[in-house]
Amino acid sequence: MAKIHVTTTVNGEPVEFLCEPQQSMLDVLRGPLGLTGSKEGCGSGDCGACSITLDGRLICSCLMLAVEAEGHEIGTIEGMASGDGLHPLQQKFLEMAALQCGICTPGVLIAARALLEKNPDPTETEVRFGLAGNLCRCTGYDKIVRAVLETAAEMRGAKAEMPEAVR
């Protein structure tokens, strides 16, 4: 079968790949592109382990065909840290041990970032609803929720300390 040539952007870098029409974005990320941070849990959009962003919007990469990436911007967990500096969420998850086995963590981080971008000051309930599409098989939800709330508070504080012109 003829493979389809796709030109897209992944974590800000131009990327080209070949894929089968029915191949999922997750398959291509983990296979040809070697970006194995996004995990496959259920493969049916229930668990959120494969969470990525498509043009900045949170989605499940198992529910997207790879061919649909043509001309769009994909964001994965591999693009979350900038250089050696972890994203504040990543740092806080480490500090507060907001993970156990870790398989859900990349998806949780991507979803939590999407949540805080839209709502920098969420209530606990809003965090729990915002992360309802991410299942943790170790059931470590409380630490995850607390880490997201702590990060949000810290990021708001950092922003408040910045001079007006930089904000």
């Binding site: 029409p21 498509l54 919007r57 949170l58 997207m64 065909l65 599409g133 991410n134």
Partner: protein
């Protein structure tokens, strides 16, 4: 595995042409949150996937000159939630749409897909029915319109003719004093399928109901427009007698199944309970509109 072809046409005419020519072997791809799951499970094996998201008309939200809204069938729930006005005018419709799956699913899933997937429990459909939404459909024989409640034919089946594609929803302009709401009953707080869903749209004039539309989901093979429930409310001031009559009309309209989510008796009873709660929210919004 048989070869699958993927097409992402830029115009509706091309999409309809390819979809009709494939004669039943094709599937429409909007958000893909149902289609990809069905393909993976082997329930459907399309020969052709027609991605409609490159067609401007199917991905646009616009306010009509008359003061209504036109929503492309492939617009995602997340985009509707981000729209500056839609959720203010139609909070109930947005509530229904935003109950479809997780935030991740919201990033892709569309009201068009929710309707065409034809689940009796689709959350956006009762709210769309209550809103009086009309859908535009295009097929090999041109365009036509039908009320949203006429689209589902039964679980997993629609009244779209072969080759026809759902293009958009048109929500009518609202008279002053109109409010809508959607509520569903689920045994948990999030990420579940409705046991019963109820949409209500109410117009009040000096406290008297002048217009009402009620939609019910998950209580029959298709979502229902419940005319007798609306009739019981119109002309009333939402007194107990009117609410009791409307609740009874909702229960009477139910033809549910018994399954693990709820029994026939439970769904029938809850339909009336949700009617009361949903009308109260819609009326409160109408009073402030």
């Amino acid at each position: 595995m048989t070869d699958i072809r993927y097409l992402a046409p830029g115009t509706l005419d091309e999409a309809v042409g390819a979809y009709a020519a494939a004669a039943g072997a094709a599937r429409i791809l909007a958000g893909g949150t149902d289609l990809l799951v069905q393909m993976r499970a082997g329930v459907v094996r399309p020969g052709l996937i027609v991605d409609i998201k490159k067609i401007a008309e199917m991905t646009t939200i616009e306010e009509t000159p008359e003061g209504g809204f036109r929503i492309g069938a492939a617009v995602s729930g997340a985009r509707l939630a981000e729209h500056p006005r839609f959720g203010k005018v139609w909070p109930g419709v947005l509530e229904g749409i935003n109950l479809i799956g997780s935030k991740q699913v919201q990033g892709r899933a569309s009201p068009g897909g929710n309707l065409c997937n034809a689940s009796p429990a689709g959350d956006s459909v009762p709210a769309m029915i209550a809103a009086g939404a009309v859908v535009t459909i295009q097929g090999p024989n041109g365009r036509r319109q039908m009320p949203v409640e006429a689209v589902p034919a039964g679980p997993g089946r629609t009244n779209l003719a072969p080759g026809e594609i759902l293009v958009s929803f048109t929500l009518p302009p609202q008279p002053a004093g109109t409010g809508d709401a959607y509520l569903r009953m689920i045994p948990r707080t999030e990420m579940d399928i409705a046991v019963v869903g109820c949409g209500a749209c109410i117009t009040l004039e000096d406290g008297v109901v002048t217009q009402a539309r009620i939609g019910l989901g998950a209580v029959a093979p298709t979502p229902l427009l419940v005319g007798p429930a609306a009739a019981a409310l119109i002309g009333s001031r939402l007194e107990e007698a009117a609410l009791a009559a409307a609740a009874a009309a909702c229960s009477a309209a139910c033809r549910p199944i018994d399954d693990k989510r709820g029994t026939i008796a439970y769904r029938t009873k809850v339909a009336g309970v949700l009617l009361r709660r949903c009308v109260a929210i819609a009326a409160d919004r109408a009073g402030r509109a």
